[in-house]
């Protein structure tokens, strides 16, 4: 990656990086313990408004997946030329609390994706900007040696 490029990290506020590594942030209802991602001001389950920020973790299992095969229109900001667009994986990851988080996947090959496979949180770059690196959270297969063909 171009070392002079500026980094636009669209989801930095959804992540916390510590000595334990990267974790995803959300919120939890103080009344009924329901988890939310991203964090919410109120609980759609019990209608309470007392919410507390919480960590959702970094590991989960793949709950569903697809491959985005065509280049999205706006509001997607990847900015690559049509001929440079690379399909990307999208999935829901079931986290330890049971919440399923929607995320880009680092893998776009259908043969390497199956429901139930372990996944972990990473940061990944996307799009094709030369001057600006676009960065977001993503989930990657946790056993690349085992799952690759």
């Amino acid at each position: 990656m171009n070392s002079h490029a500026t980094v636009h990290h669209a989801t930095q506020h959804l992540l916390r990086s510590s000595e334990k590594g990267l974790v995803l942030l959300g919120s939890r209802c103080q009344a009924c313990a329901e988890h939310y991602f991203p964090s919410a001001d109120s609980c759609t389950r019990c209608a309470a408004t007392d919410m507390l920020a919480c960590e959702l973790g970094a590991r989960g299992v793949l709950w569903s997946w697809t491959v985005q095969a065509f280049q999205p229109k706006s509001p997607y900001n990847g900015g690559e030329a049509a001929e440079d667009f690379q399909p990307y994986g999208v999935g829901y990851i079931e986290m330890p609390s049971g919440i399923k988080v929607e995320s880009r996947l680092t893998v776009a090959d259908p043969a390497r994706l199956r429901i139930g496979m372990p996944m972990h949180l990473v940061e990944a770059d996307y799009g094709g900007g030369a001057d600006t690196v676009l960065r977001t959270f993503a989930f990657a297969p946790s056993n690349p040696a085992k799952e690759s063909i």
Binding site: V67, Y92, E102
Partner: protein
Amino acid sequence: MEDIAIIGVGMHRFGRTDGVSGQAQGAHAVREALKDAGVTWDQIGIAYGGSQDGGNADALSNHLGLTGLPFVNVANGCATGGSALASVVAALRSGMTDIGVAVGFDKHPRGAFNPKPADWGLEDWYGETGLMLTTQFFALKTQRYMHEHGVSEDALVRVAQRAFRNGALTPHAWRQRELSYEEIADSMPVNLPLRKYMFCNPAEGGAALVLCRASEAHRYTDHPVLVRAAVMRTRHHGSFEVFSPSLAAEAAPAPTVTASRAAYEEAGVGPEDINVIQLQDTDSGSEIIHLAENGFCEHGEQEHLLRQGETDIDGRLPVNTDGGCLANGEPVGASGLRQVIEVCLQLRQQAGARQVPGAPRLGYTHVYGAPGVSAVTILEAP
């Protein structure tokens, strides 16, 4: 409760009509419906209508005549038509007026929809990073459903194949070419497991209904269609909906399920009594899910029904006899009323080459859409 009847139906052909605005297509549909009912615009006492990208419905008065009637704009996404219909039914039951119109129309730009995150209460990153696509949602929901209920890609192909086969029998359908199994199964992946010919396209068109109290209907027409139920419902916490950065730990039934149950209750009938069916088929996977969610089969039973031809025009559960959204495209505002019109034509036995045999008595329509709304009607033959 006072029975309400549909006494006139009218459409502007779905598809692409360059040079004709969405509102002009909506006005055309209203004129056709008025003609079918044998009434004039100045007799209409209430109108509800809407579009997503075609502008305000009450601007149709500029085409149809400024008669001073109360004209309410409806903006309920895919349930716009169903909401307009339910509102007209309620207005007529209240006795506020004698004849009402429900109308939907639209004119979308080509390609997938491009929603704005803020309109949906979402932060910009959700759209910027490439997660805010309706096609992705349908694929993710279908993938999970197939996994949980043992449905294979074969079923996805068969839904699309039947849709285009029925479209080929429908003179006003947008897509009138039958597609082979291989053409569909080998078509370009869009969002796996869904491929090009398993998705409907945003389109253009208009659809309108004229309604009155059933006790008055025979003054206008020999074939009034009774509205036995017209219900609209929104989602509960935990249902799997479009544009969801996360899903709750515990799943809840979709709004389709609640709308469907309420409609059966209002009509006093069950799924086994229905003779002709319209289900929201934005994509093959959605139709498969909706077959079970509306009570027409068990979860996982769909593949068998499709293979046996049970959902064909001459089957036990004729679904989307005009080709549905797959063959007609989806002008969001008009799509739900297109379904109602197709069922009316079937119940009036005016559906030509695609007529369901055996004089169907009860018909059913179902729409489902963002951000988790569903509208269901149950209609009875004259």
